[in-house]
Amino acid sequence: MRRFRSNPVAIASVVVILIFAFTAGGTFLLSITGHQWPCNPNLTNLEQKLLPPCPQHWLGTDNLGRDVLSRMLHGASISLTVGLIAVAVSLGIGMVVGAVAGYFGGIIDQILMRAVDALLCFPTFFLILTVVALLGPSLLNIVIVIGLVSWTGTARLVRSEFLTLRETEYVKGARVLGQNAWHIITRHILPNAAAPILVTAVLGIPDAILSEAGLSFLGFGVQPPQATWGNIIADGKTYLLDAWWLNLFPGLAILIASLSFYLAGDALREAAESRS
């Protein structure tokens, strides 16, 4: 942890993530109490359409006169929610599959790992696109599908951690004491594998954010009028020559948010590796 705190890149990326999280959370909380800050993201005003950045609209307005900054702030909460919940889903499945395969081994391990191998052959983004398109795009479907297709890496990692930890003295000791598998897995092995699992979780968040943005761009993301970073870009691509701000700012938001998560995750990995 000290190593993580003394890494300036890590501190900077955590600060950026916190800024994103607080502004997104703040905007969301204000909007459910009825205050729209800085403006209503869905308020159209055709007299003010396609305005470049100006004092009233810091990041300009789109083709319907909606304030881009407000839309981006509301989109931020969607992107971060997608990232967190998708990772939670994939972590849940990946940990169960990896733990069962790694702890019990044998034929169960063989079957589960062949299923993982098979899933790894699918082109991930195309698989997500297919299922979301067939199920119908909604926030819930997108989050679940991204989580359902991205657990294979976690499963492999957890399995390999279990294979090593299974042979340690304290696990053997616990087994000799007659503790059951559930107890050994959750109390003895998982806590010792927490660091690498945390790292994959942090690195999984930007993957999910980028997948959602790509889906939105193709028209299969969270549906309008709900703003997301991806669909602001998708809507703005028609006006790219006249209104560069519709494309530049949400793209930068995606880039900065996912870059911060990657850098923070990498610093976390470094800190975890230097500890052991």
Binding site: A118, L120, C121, F122, P123, V131, L134, I233, L255, Y262
Partner: protein, 320 residues
Amino acid sequence: MISFIIRRLALSVVLLFIISIISFFIVTLTPGSPYPWGELNPKISAEVKANFRKKFHLDRPLHEQYALIMRDLFTGNLRSIKDDRPVMSRILERLPATVALNLTSIVISLSFGTLLGVTAARYSGHWQDALGSFIAFLFIALPGFWITYMMVVALVKGFGVPILGTHSYGIEFPNSLGSGLDTLWHLLLPATILALGGIASQSRYLRATMIESLREDYIRTARSKGLAEEVILYKHALRNSIRPIIAGIGMVLPALIGGAVVIETIFAYPGMGRLGYEAVLERDYPTLVALNFVVAALVLLGNLISDLLSAAVDPRVRLE
């Protein structure tokens, strides 16, 4: 070696079987109308619907549907819902473009990834290393569609450079060299954008293995012999560190083909990614099932080839 290949092929058959089941059920079990004209279209008579169901075996139970689809896939009778052409020929006509795009992108990501990784390892702990990691993560974090879109508009509209499709439109080339270079040029931009993620991950991997190799005794020997630093890095250290990268090429393929969906759509590039996107839009499920199958087979083939390559590069690897 022969027995290794045979065992791997046997395993591939098992995996392809699982893959075909997964993709069949994903496509058929998701709710929604299978008809291209919509469930409740009043202009379509019940008779037409019944004929459609019969033609695509939708009137059979699921396990029979699966068996019939697989039979049709292997006998080449599986037809697209969209234009009634055999699915296999639709896929095969896109195959050369896809293979060319992916190979180019792999070559680009290997060469730049190696350069970036070796440089980062050489200056490990210095600012060049930090910059290298930053560039790598920047490449992964870039939303491909965003940067592509900005580039396409800037190049096409700003400078009038033709980059969409596979050939410049309306230009006749006097010889095959010209048109060949034209095709290569059209390949280069989408391949570079697709390669960004690969450059990043390969450079990170290579940096880690290179730092380890650079601590070995034979590097100290090479240094004390007075060899040039470049020779030590690229001839001695790199040859001992490159194997995991080459073995990992096969694992990059699914991400490449998946990422190509967006990139090919923007570049109007006639590859399998765009075919898949069109099939998704049209709910053309025979094409979707077949496409997943072919892509998975390509990935398995890529894995096998990269394993064989890594054994060829590094004689310490025994294939078993």
